[in-house]
Amino acid sequence: MSCLFRTAVVAALLLVPPAVQAQQPTTPPDTQSDMQGMPGMDHGMHDSTMSMPIPMPPGMPMMPGLKGLAPNVAPFLPGASADVAHLPVARASELARLKDGDTLDLTATLVRRTIRGHTFTMYGFNGEIPGPLIDVPQNATITVRFHNSIDLPSSVHWHGVRLDNRDDGVPDVTQPAVAPGSSFVYQVHFPDAGIYWYHPHVREDIEQAMGLFGNVRVDSPERDYYSPVNLEQTLMLSDLLVHADTLIPFGKEDPDFALMGRLGNVLLVNGEPRYALSVHQGDVVRFFITNASSSRTWNLSFSGASMKVVASDVSRFEHEERVPGVILAPAERYVVEARFDKPGTYALVNAVQAINHYRGEFQPEVDTLGIVTVRSEPASPDYAAAFATLRHNTAVSRDIDRYRPYFDKPPDKRLTLTVKVSALPLATVQFMTIDTAYYAPVEWVDAMPDMNWLSSSKQVRWILRDDATGKENMGIDWHVPQGSVVKLRIFNDPKSFHPMQHPIHLHGQRMLVISRDGVPVRNLVWKDTALIPVGSTVDLLIDASNPGAWMLHCHIAEHLGSGMMTVLHVDPHGGARGAGAAR
């Protein structure tokens, strides 16, 4: 009779007078000092306290019971002690074409970034946002000398790359955090062709959001690995949360926006609010797209252009498919090809159906991210025929064939995704208790940024729970022998206080999403990140071939910062441990 219990709880909550809802001081004493009067504040942080108004979406008022409250964390923005006028202007990503044995110096620095006339202090790798586009041949090994010149500890995680464990870039698991002014040397081996990315694994909610991300393109030696195209483009998607000319500060000691993650209101492609591309009529363009945003799941399309999806995180699909758009959860990558067959312009849009919780309605939300201008000169060569063909990648299917015998075995591990909250503002608890009569499988926008902003990881603990032991997050002791094929079943509990989708990322291995809610996935692709919608049960098959201690976590930066992580130990051949699923 949970509905009766729910009704009783709601009724009890509503009897509490509004006067007791304000649980936190409007201007907490400890949130006043750090940012005000600092030279770096010319980037718009004139009001550096957390008491600033949070930008609300159109038609969604801030709840009266939340007005005047502030997150229970101190505010932080990059470069508090830096003179923004003397910071280098952030440059666009530059190509770093490397070969086996080469060395790259990669420095995280403060940069000055102007967006829509407003100047902010942000971070960049080698002064670039995104960082350098590293282009390497498959099976190359490069040396990356990372130097940390920002004001936080940092590291570099090579997302999706099945490299040696010591180079995975995870503080307290594979290396110590790299202190400001210090360095770390990574040896990065790239065994798989495709599109990968790199970012810090320290306070991603700040460092990644402020510009520390870049792509790695790993080129197959096969000339026809992809279909022929006229042009290739690498797109990194991110967003910034801005109010007027001010960046909304981050939580200094812990992430804020812990409930939903920080969804920005300025959407960026390659760090720019307006992407532009010029092509010939009939050109086929291959887009390597990476979602580098903290929490946003995107639904991209080129208005009117036909498109097919070719590859994802760690491999090509078994077969190419026509798609109306590209859906990317945080950290996911997709390779798509689009043909622009008419002269004129095509808008690159992110189109979702947002929920107005105040009115109880859906409303379309469309952001134009850029324009593709198609000139009237015809494409040369004309790849229309190749584009019309949907390829079957038999090599991918043959590779996966070795794993099909394990598809129907019982799960080796079952994890439930849930959340625990404490000490949230009463109005938040009241609203969310009532409002979760319906919970969207995927939250596309932050429709309630006031409540989200006022939640920090001091109050919100996101959880991966081992169904067998009841252990949670880093308390889960999970070992499998190297060479195992591990079936992991993940259930995203819709009955939690705040159900939300989770893009679950596994480091250092590759995995297949073999079924969703009991329905087998028919077109397989090797992944490192899988979107788990609310209420869904997803079966993953992990090729546990790479020894070491590998993080498994939600890639919503604030969920990770609120505890939603564990470690999969792949014990090497001949190792002492081995409780997993042997082949």
Binding site: M1, S2, C3, R6, L14, P18, G59, P61, M63, P64, G65, N299, S301, V309, F317, E321, V323, P324, G325, V326, I327, L328, Y334, A351, V352, Q353, I355, H357, Y358, R359, G360, E361, F362, P364, E365, V366, Q430, F431, I434, A437, Y438, Y439, A440, P441, V442, W444, P494, K495, P499, V513, R516, D517, V519, N523, V525, A530, L531, P533, G535, V538
Partner: protein, 167 residues
Amino acid sequence: MSLFEAGRRIRRPATLLALVMFMTAGTAGPYDITLLSTPQAPGARGHARLIFAPSPFGVALTQDGHAVYDMQITASGLPQPSSLGAFTTYVAWAVSPDLTGWHRLGPVTNGTTTVGHADLNKFLLVITAEADTTGASSRGPTVLHGTSPSGWLQSFLTHPLFRGISQ
């Protein structure tokens, strides 16, 4: 009547199903629809589950962001369609909440049937008796109906939580 006696009286599967539906109404998952019967077929029972249509991205969306679902409908107690008139089959429809848009999903029988696709934000799932399975609009009586989970979205326009807002 004691609880024990009540338990003895609800052994019939249809009654049990109805009780379970009543107890879980409003707390079902984001993919579940409880179907209610009408006087035309009072013995009919059913539920539906929304399943994302096959997609390389795990979730399926239209270009403008509407979720696209296949509908798995489980029904029991549907009488012969001909018992309701000149009808030969049952058809599932996704219907806009204002009843102006009817989108044929496919034929339904007793047991479990998967039909598709529904891509409305909020909709009613309606099962009607029909003369054939190809009609663009419903002509027969409704035997089962339910509301999409998104129908649970509530307006807070006049709720005490938003007291003080003038819009």
